[in-house]
Each structure stands twice: as structure tokens, then as C-alpha cells.
Symmetry: C2
């Protein structure tokens, strides 16, 4: 599906995220310098062209603009927004993937709208009942791990959790470059038999599968990087992710408030600022590249809403690696063969 | 059920927690100075007496020692531990509550063992199918809110979530002193209709109840203090709590590592230490008093495993307020009357 001259064609949502259109355009331009990629800029034509000219500093526009006159706002109810805004950048971008005009779509727009449009326009891969939102979360050693489902599907059964594991393993191998990915199950205790019915059954199935299964892992241990892939249902994963974000934010807010109250601390905080910034960045999963809707029959990457150009570029980089690794094809080969050789255990 | 001279009799697990027996003894002594309370010290007689004498500095021991020759370690599998260690401080302490010799039991020992012993020896209140672990979690404004279930029961249905809400409201009113507690439901989106089947049904029931229901709240918003009581099932609550703890710990570890690498930052960190300590304390739910197994037919408070004397004393303080507020009696009055006046809405 590669485009002109062996380049992957990645559609970029120019209107997605808090820093649109500046950050998506800058990120796309950065990606063009780093990877063999052709960008399809999706957004209102005049606005996109103006931003491109402003950043490139010339009159010739790199890549191709695909017009989309509407924008889905973060507050729009996803499903209704798709109906009311059929010419939005999200719908147009995903349609490009569906129609084979783009190899992947990258957006910092509304997760719910991307999810809804993805399900509606692309559908799921054969054998996959529900897609999962997967993202690389940070670990203390900087390696990171893939966690899914972070909230694409509110319900899941044990078979679906096994499918998430399979898809995660393929992603970890083909995109993150982990030769023999280990899988863990998020749970409320490390021993087998812990958790509710769903998690006890998922544990049994994963233990019986051909996957390299590391057993249960508690949310507290995630930062130690207990596995390459951690699976859970979308409700639990979304709560865990938002709990982590909440603590991070609370931590910085309190730190700021406390520092502001003390002159000496204010001086010290100035000296510490680069340290604090680095710590914050290490804990920010947005830095580790985009999230991906695994299980959709098409590549849709979701960058953090506050993505800067580097985060957008990283999202495009992940899309390129997914194309190069023939991710969807490999997932198709592996689903339903959890006990077989297709999972590459020990390869 | 008050003891001698109008004092509440609180049994304290002298062997529970990382800092036993020093912290439980010091915490108990502090509580005796602050509240009308008589302490029953539960643990190996000679060891408890020696620690008491060491801390009091005399030969007369304040309160009464209730001998318990065994200790359940944090790593012991809870249910097996109860069988193998029938004379452990946890079993003896909860038996004191069951037999009416103590009004409450406070322990920094194994949550699982406390839970198992509580269910086995005390059972649940009439109408309550499963108990819930409730704790006051921190908010940015320092008020805090009660969250439950944090992991007492891995399964719950919508009716049980409503019962958690009722018990939480009674606790918030009688123990935390909130005159008209508001309840929120933890969920993955703020609108009604969000979440999985369990949470959609719980939302409907809570909206129909006589409770002051604030709707759904996302884990990310918890630190803003969206309600006095936040309910969820024990699996989700436990994952959320541990995710928050994990980020907190990761945050401090990274900060330390980064600071150690830079001499100037090391100096600044010295100046900032009191600030960092204060922030850490504000985010530490252990500071806000003990967790409680709500729904058991008896008062069992669980302090954090790393509790210092102040945290233990706060746990005893919460026990005293629960006794004074006749918590169990009030819960009994309110269960099954979620649509009635017993909930004190608008009182």
C-alpha cells in the first residue's frame, strides 16, 4: 500500500488537538525529514495552506491538502458529531484510510470521535469483536510498555482480553522492536485466582495460550515495567490511566502552590526547574508516541490533545513503523492462533 | 457499648504494620491523650508490656494487654493465615469486637487478613451482601473525600454500589462531619450512559435514589474533590488506588535520581525538601486516617502498613468518631431506605 517512490502515505489531522493547526503542521514537516513518508494534510484548505506556507516560508506546499471543512470539538458527543459533521477532519481522514488513499491516519482530536468513526467506517479485523486503545506507558527505566485497552470498549470478555494480548504482542514486536514480548494481566493481586470473574478467566486463558505470559500485575507495579504488554478491559484501563494522570497533575499543582508560598523555595524551584520538567516528561505517556486503536481494519493513531510538534511527529513515526511491520497483516495471521507458532514465542 | 467511665474501648493491633510495635504503641498513647478512649493492646504479652514500659517510662502499663501469641505477616495468604494462626493479633482483635469487649479494632496489618477475619467472625450488617473498603482520599483543597470500595470485594452489582453509596453517606455525615454529603459514581466519562453495564445501571439507580447524587466522575477529577463520597466496585477502586500510589512513588524516585545527577539541583533539592515532604504528605491518603471495612457488623479500621504514630492515632480517632456517631446503627437504619428520609438529604 506504499505510495509514490516507496513512501508511506500518512494522513494528518491538521485541526486536532489544543495546538492545532500549528503543532500538527510542524509535526508533519518534522516527520517528513525523519521518515520516508508523504503527508496528506486534512483540514480546511485555505487555513491549512496558510499555515503550511507560514511554516515552510515559501509558496510551494509540501505534500497534498485534503479538504475537510468541519472540525469536531473535544466537547462534541462523538456519535452525534459524526452525523452532524460528515466533512470533519476526523471523518475525512479515516475515510482516506478506508478508501486506501492513506496508509494511516494520525490525529490529536477527540478520542471518542476517532473511535466512533473508526468503528463505523473501518470496522474491525476478522475475528476481533471489539477494538482496544493501546498506548506505550512510561517505566522508570525509560523502556515503556504497551497497555491496552485504555478505553476503546467499555465491556470485554475473557476471549477479548486474550485477543488484546495477541494484538499487543504483535505491536510490541513489529512496532516497538521487542523480539519476544512478554504479556501481563492487570489485576488486584499477583497470585493466580485474584480478581473478579472476568480476570480469573482471562488469567486461565492466557496461562493456557502460547503467549509468553508473566501472570498478574498490580497497577502499582506498572512503572517498574513488569512486561512488554499489559492487558485489561477498557473500563479498568481508562480508570487507571486517568487516575495516573490525575495524580501527576495534582502533584505539580501542589508543588507550585507550596513553592509560591516560600521565597527560598521559589529560588530553589528555579534551580530545579529543568529537573522537574524532565521528570514530568518521563512520566508523560504523550512523549512515548501516539495511542493506537488496535483491532480496527485500518491504522488510526491518536496523539495526546496537548501534543507538541515532537509528539505529533512521534505519532507519525509509529504509523510508519506499523506500515513497515505490516501490523494489520500480522495481527490477522495471529488471531485465533493464540496457541500456535504465529505468535513468535521464543523467536 | 461504651466502656469504663464513658470511654470507648478500642483494640489496637500492636503487631500490625512495618513500624510495629513502636508506632502502634506510640499512636495508642497519643490517642489516649486526645480522645476519651481506653486502649486494649493486642499482641504477645511480654513484648507489648516491654514496649509500653519503654515508651511510658514507668512500670505501670496504661490500658489493658490482651495476649495474642501469633503475627500474620503481610505475605501470608489471608484465609490460610487465619486457620494457621488462630491466636494472631488480627484474629484476637476482631474477636474482641465480635464479643463486645471492644467497640472497634484498629490495625496496620494485612488488609486481606483483616477482611477475611472480618467477614468470617463479624459477618455483614443485615441487608448488606458484601463489605467495602472505604478510605478518605486527598483533594487539592485538603478537604478529602470518602472513596469505596477500594478492594474489599472483587465483584459487585448495581444494588451493592447503591449500598456503598448509602454507607458512605452515613460515614461522611457521622464521622467526617459533612452535614449533607454528595455522592458521585466513578466512571469513564461524565455524561449519563457512560461506562459498562454495571456502571450504567448503578448510575440509573443512584439517580432514582433519595441520595444527593452528583453523577459520574472521572478518576482524573478526583483530586478536585467533586463529591463527599465516590463509589465504585472493589476491582476498579483497587486498581485506581494502586495506580495513584504507583505514580506517586515513580514521581519521587525519578525526582531523586535526577537530583542526584546534578550538583546544583542537589543544593536546590535541599532547600525544597520541606516543600516536597509537605506535597507528599498532602497526597498520602494514610495521613487522612484509616480505611474502614464498611458493611461489616463491627468496626474494623485498617491503617496504612507504613503508618507512623500519628497515622495510628488518627485511625483510633476515626474509630472514636464512628462510635460516637453510632455509625453501624445509622447504616442499619438507612439500608433499604435509599429513597427515604433516613439519608438525611438536605438536613
Amino acid at each position: 500500500m506504499s505510495g509514490r517512490a516507496g513512501r508511506w502515505r500518512v494522513a494528518v489531522d491538521v485541526m486536532g488537538g489544543d495546538r492545532a493547526p500549528g503543532a500538527p503542521v510542524a509535526g508533519g514537516l518534522e516527520a517528513m525529514r525523519r521518515w520516508p513518508v508523504e503527508i496528506l494534510w486534512v483540514g480546511p484548505e485555505a487555513q491549512v495552506a496558510a499555515e503550511l506556507r507560514r511554516q515552510v516560508g515559501g509558496s510551494r506546499v509540501p505534500g497534498r491538502i485534503v479538504p475537510a471543512s468541519q472540525v469536531i470539538e473535544p466537547g462534541d458527543p462523538p456519535v452525534a458529531a459524526l452525523r452532524r459533521k460528515p466533512d470533519s477532519s476526523i471523518v475525512v481522514g479515516i475515510r482516506l484510510v478506508r478508501d486506501g488513499e492513506a496508509d494511516a491516519f494520525v490525529s490529536a482530536g477527540s478520542t471518542g470521535a476517532l473511535m466512533a468513526a473508526g468503528k463505523l467506517l473501518l470496522g474491525t479485523l476478522p475475528g476481533i469483536a471489539r477494538p482496544a486503545l493501546a498506548a506505550v506507558l512510561p517505566t522508570l527505566d525509560g523502556r515503556g510498555f504497551l497497555m491496552l485497552d485504555l478505553g476503546a470498549s467499555a465491556e470485554a470478555d475473557a476471549e477479548q482480553l486474550v485477543h488484546y494480548a495477541v494484538m499487543g504482542v504483535v505491536y510490541a514486536r513489529e512496532v516497538l522492536g521487542r523480539p519476544a514480548p512478554r504479556v501481563a494481566l492487570l489485576n488486584i493481586g499477583s497470585e493466580a485466582g485474584k480478581g473478579n470473574r472476568l480476570y480469573r478467566e482471562a488469567h486461565e486463558r492466557l496461562a493456557r495460550s502460547g503467549l509468553d505470559f508473566a501472570g498478574n500485575v498490580e497497577a502499582r507495579e506498572l512503572f517498574a515495567g513488569p512486561a512488554d504488554v499489559v492487558v485489561c478491559d477498557g473500563f479498568t484501563g481508562n480508570v487507571a490511566l486517568k487516575a495516573m494522570e490525575g495524580v501527576g497533575e495534582a502533584c505539580w499543582k501542589l508543588l507550585k502552590a507550596e513553592v509560591a508560598r516560600r521565597p527560598l523555595a521559589r529560588l530553589a524551584a528555579g534551580l530545579l526547574r529543568p529537573v522537574l520538567r524532565r521528570v514530568r516528561r518521563q512520566l508523560d505517556y504523550g512523549e512515548y508516541g501516539a495511542a493506537l486503536f488496535l483491532g480496527l481494519d485500518g491504522l488510526v493513531f491518536k496523539c495526546h490533545g496537548s501534543s507538541d510538534p515532537r509528539a505529533i511527529a512521534n505519532g507519525i513515526g509509529a504509523a510508519v513503523r506499523a506500515c513497515q511491520g505490516r501490523l494489520l497483516h500480522r495481527i490477522g495471521e495471529s488471531i485465533g492462533k493464540e496457541d500456535g507458532e504465529a505468535l513468535g514465542r521464543g523467536r
